[in-house]
């Protein structure tokens, strides 16, 4: 092999290659749609229209996106510390449990203004707590955090089934759900909040937790890039040797970052339990944890990218529902397929398109000498 490879400009790395990964995923998905006898272009049109075509669609899209932002941020924070938290499913689930418990205990006696900070604490606390054991095991025992968090996802599911069926079930109920919370325990819907000031939106599940999601984005951005702690966390993620040189204690950082990650994931419960369902039930966190990984990967672990990626996956979720209505042969599972493909291309094959870009840029630079040094 002669010489070196064509170095690619930075913006290609940040923007073009991730975009290429998404495009590849959609191309493959398009083939699958063709294979089952439908027109992918029509499907895309229905999808986009369903997600963004009217205020109802947008509302649903943003509601889904809220959860993705939480789990995406959670994964990203851990990634920056060099760790892989796959336990978002379980942490979101248990965070929701904590919120539900607080609300069940207090919705008759406490006003909303007291309940809200309590649920915030509970969501974060329970989520962090569920992440604590895997974090400790990784830091002090070297147990691989990927395996332990996967196990804890299943433990969370089993625990929740047990609790919902045996302990928290509403008396007289046929399905494993708790009783409905009182009005003080409802997180206001956005359409309810905006109505008094003259903006009338169709009712959707979109609620105030989206505000928390945005706030959390800003918080994570500040924490990681504008605080000494975030500096230390990122240093540890890049080089343990440099972190030790800089006076960081690696074990401490591992535990704090994973617990922080779990705490953020726990807020999915705020959206689902306090914002939409208004009761404790099963499987409210299903799928959000794993999609959070895709969101973090697509968003390059930066809050801004995560917001964009979350909205994209929100579009997929809402559009997918519309798609399932309009074209019966394409069910919601097609969205799952697309999610899987996006994770595959963005996460496992991220550099697949690189050689093509290098060839392209190499050719351009030869044809157009002025492009050298772009």
């Amino acid at each position: 092999m002669r010489g070196g490879r064509t170095p690619l400009p930075h913006w290609v790395d940040i923007g073009l290659i991730p975009l290429a990964n998404v495009v590849l995923a959609f191309l493959v998905a398009g083939f699958i749609v063709l294979a089952i006898g439908e027109n992918p272009l029509v499907a895309v049109r229905v999808l986009i229209a369903g997600a963004l075509g009217d205020s109802e669609g947008i509302g649903y899209t943003l509601y889904y996106a809220t959860n993705f932002i939480f789990t995406g941020l959670a994964v990203a924070v851990a990634f920056h510390a060099g760790l892989f938290n796959i336990g978002g499913e379980g942490q979101a689930y248990i965070g929701g449990l904590g919120i539900g418990l607080v609300l069940l205990a207090g919705d008759r006696y406490l006003p909303f203004s007291v309940l809200l900070p309590l649920t915030l604490l509970a969501g974060a606390g329970f989520g962090a707590g569920w992440a604590l054991v895997p974090a400790y095991l990784q830091a002090y025992r070297g147990s691989h955090i990927v395996i332990t968090t996967i196990m804890f996802n299943f433990l969370a599911a089993a625990l929740m089934v047990y609790l919902m069926v045996n302990v928290l079930i509403a008396p007289g109920s046929m399905s494993p759900q708790s009783r409905e919370f009182g009005p003080a325990a409802h997180l206001p819907f956005i359409h309810d909040v905006l109505a008094p000031i003259g903006i009338n939106l169709t009712a959707t599940p979109l609620n105030l937790s989206v505000v928390l999601a945005i706030v959390l984005c800003v918080f994570v951005w500040l924490l990681l890039w504008h605080t000494p702690f975030g500096f230390e966390l990122r240093t540890a993620g890049h080089s343990e040797a440099a972190a030790i040189y800089a006076g960081v204690r690696p074990r401490r950082i591992i535990i704090i970052s994973i617990c922080l990650s779990g705490a953020i994931a726990g807020f999915v419960g705020l959206n689902e339990i306090m914002g939409v369902q208004h009761r404790l039930l099963l499987n409210f966190a299903a799928g959000y944890g794993f999609t959070g990984i895709a969101v973090a990967l697509m968003g390059r672990n930066h809050p801004l990218g995560i917001v964009v990626a979350s909205i994209l996956f929100g579009i997929l979720s809402q559009g997918g529902t519309e798609l399932a209505f309009s074209i019966p042969t394409i069910t919601r599972d097609m969205i799952v397929v697309i999610q899987g493909l996006v994770i595959l291309f963005s996460g496992a094959l991220p550099q697949l398109s690189r050689p093509w870009f290098e060839w392209l840029f190499g050719m351009l630079q030869r044809q157009v000498p002025a492009m050298r040094g772009v």
């Binding site: 089952i36 892989f84 196990m151 804890f152 042969t329 599972d333 996460g347 094959l349």
Partner: protein, 317 residues
Amino acid sequence: MVLTLSATLRVATPLILGAIAGLFSERSGIIDISLEGKMLASAFAAATVAALTDSAWVALGVGILIAGAFSLVHGYACVTQKGNQVVSGIALNILASGLTIVLGNAWFHRGGQTPNLSAKARFMALDLPGAVSLRDVPVVGPLYGEFISGHNLIVYAALLAVPLTQWVVNNTRFGLRLRAVGENPQAVDTAGISVAWLRYRAVLLGGLLTGTAGTYIAIAQNAGFSRDMTAGQGYIALAALIFGKWRPYPVLGACLMFGLLDAIAIRLQGVRVAGIGEVPVQFIQASPYLLTVILLAGFIGKAVAPKAAGVPYVKER
């Protein structure tokens, strides 16, 4: 009692096949979280082909092919592209979960289920020689007739796979190189052996085994495919692999133990255990995962993974 043991074997079969598949992969240094996805995909493929061809063997072949295809993708991402092995596994699981329903729905219009299969298209229970005639003999009869005999072919194949794997891993050239590449790929490379080809072979072997497991679930244990029918067995197989410390016989033991737990979970419902009260069924269902975490924490001995697992091999500069 005998029925419980018999059920244990049947439940443990896909776990054994999945765990051994994971064993080959991980001992070569490739983490494989996608056991679940491969099982699911091959289950769907086998059920579909069985419905179309009415032949269990052709279905098995296709099931293995499909799992092999998934393994190839995983291998390509991990070995050639040197991508993140965990993410690749997760991606394949999610992909399988969605794709099986999308295709199943499009082809059979039953909400993801495949048509029911006739006995011809399934692997049915086999009676070992003498099982029927011995049935009335006390103790030996039921034991032989219900527990040892009376399983379908794949169950026996899974049980055979364990000593076979033990032999391959410890007594063949391939096994030696496999173990080496999972501990120190550089040692293999400097000996002039291709690290990539070894790892591809390991992953493909895994595909063979998970394909068999998925086929078993769809057309032997059941009579067709239904949504997410693997129900986490791929993850339990992973847990069994770790619990068995990546060695064939301990892995078999772990699979049998987890299978037993599953088989008695239903039976234990409502039964009061002295001092503890009623044991919740969810606790028993969660016990494989709990035990694995306890093992990983180092409380029941040490679980030392193959040293190079999870790290893409790059020639040192």
